[in-house]
Amino acid sequence: MDRAGNSKRGPAGPTLFRQIATRLAGFTLLFALLDVGIVVLTYSSQPESLAQELLTLEASKAQGSTALTPDLLTGPPGAEHWAARLIEPAAGESPPWSSRAGAPGGVLMDWTRRERIPGGYRISGVRSVQQGGQQRWLFMQFEGDGIRPYVPVIANEIVQHVALPLIPLSLLLLLFNVFAVRRVLGPLQRAEAEVDALDPDNVLLRLSEAPEPREVNTLVRAVNRALTRLDQTMAILRGFTANAAHELRTPLSIMQLSLDKLPPSAVRDDLQADTQHMARLVGQMLDLAQADALAVEPDVLVDLADIGRDIVAAMAPKAFAAQRDLRFEAIGDTRALGHAEAIYRIYRNLIDNALAHAPGDTPIEVTAGPGPQLSVRDHGPGIADEDLPHIFERFWRKDRRKSDGAGLGLGIVQRLAEAHGGAITASNSPGDGALFQVTFAPPEPGR
């Protein structure tokens, strides 16, 4: 039973993987922007190298182009003047504008010149290109103004230096993130499974400590410390019931025995009945506190039939004195996992309940089995339909004036059954009377 009534699934927030992935993507983007800014800044402070890059880019366009004459090239955007032509070094021609081609034999080399002209700048230069498997030289001259002609160059630089390295790196990081998060959170998931398996009735259970990561380790240890404190609270509660029992029961004994010494009178009888009622109430409240704190060892095997015979033997004199007949029957295998004294009290409270409700001269049938279950059946008026939802409520009584109990007996039975991982059902048995059945965990196979 889910006592707290809360579902296992909490509010579905973003997973840690998603959070890390989002942050990683954000950082990658920020880094890319920073990188772009650095590229733009660097080149804007170095117009010479920009000019070089511009001509190299145009030359590579010419090399890739199928146009036969370089004049057909469009040139950089925003060019006010653009000229390009091929030079045949074999012609031995030494162009007049080639001031830097002073090498002997007329060997051409790449060069770039940038000069200021009114209303802008002029860039001229030569690049070696491969066309049709043949090395040729391309002369280019260009006039322009402002940053616009450089845009393709800068864009190219960004692709080369920012996008190409960053995109695969980001993808690799995301992929790594999947594995890393899964691996790192493994101990956390195991801890979650262990916390789910925690049973409030099973003390001394702790989460197993994973040595790493340290964060999970500290969390697990904090949870374990909290569990230790809970255990201590339970121990204090148990200690309290023992102490309260002693403190209440000894004065009650003195009261009862003192009353017995009084000369017989109606007042004495009333007081005796009152103290007996009080003793019963104290006993039941302590039983309930003990039932609430009961920890059932999961591996103790008991025989429901043996316990049933014991309790029927113990209660038969009381039943006979009240003109009732108590019968016991064991059917089949009656072994179960449980706490013998707790099961004894389950029987006792159910028989007490039957004694209180069944009329005289009717049998009360106590049965163990078949299997890990017990039942107590009486031949009284049964349980009214409107009472059925209430009979296990603590302090509930059908008729407060008539009953001398505290209304805790069946609540104790239910709590004891739950502590065993079992359940109690109440119904009207076929024919007449009430039937209470309690089921327990069966012994493990092979035992």
Binding site: I254, L257, A313, R327, V366
Partner: protein, 228 residues
Amino acid sequence: MRLLLVEDNARLASLIREGLDRQGFALDWCETVAGAEHALAINAYDLMLLDLGLPDGEGLDLVRGLRRRQDTMPILVLTARGGLDDRVLGLDAGADDYLVKPFQIPELAARCRALLRRPGASLGTELCAGNVTLHSAERSVKVAGEPVVATPREVNLLECLLRRTGHVVAKPALEGALYSMDADVTPNALEACVSRLRKRLTAAGADVQIRTVHGVGYALFAPLGAHG
């Protein structure tokens, strides 16, 4: 018959003493474990009534010490501790019975009598309930002073029930006492024996009752108001 009461609450002790005195028991009282050990060293007691939480120690330690010394004196634990494991702990330590406070004197007296009747305890050879008397050495039964003829097996059965008057004696225990191991016991043999004993006692005018607890065993009840 001498009883030792170990109880640290003086008022409760004096009430128990008076109550049991009226029931015909002689009672010595001490308040502590040390006092109890001293009393046990000086006198021989037939039964000890023992409270558990004592000022100078744990009552159960006293029980364990006695049992270690092979002392078989019956011990009835009187305690306020009614926890789920307390009774088992007490019996495991070697106590013979366990009575949770508050209790009433007739109940306490009945438990004392049951313990004193147990084999091993020093007790008289006469077992009585109501007007029925069984002489355990002579194997004779009398109802209201008149001898009643019964088979040895029926006398054995009556003795078992008388030793536990007011309590249910389980069938296996009765069968073990009545039939030897190799004897072929039919399921109805015990039932028939009980039935014959019942008829004999009724015919002789006995005021005790032998009741069947179906599925468990049999119990002999003395008439209400009589003890013994």
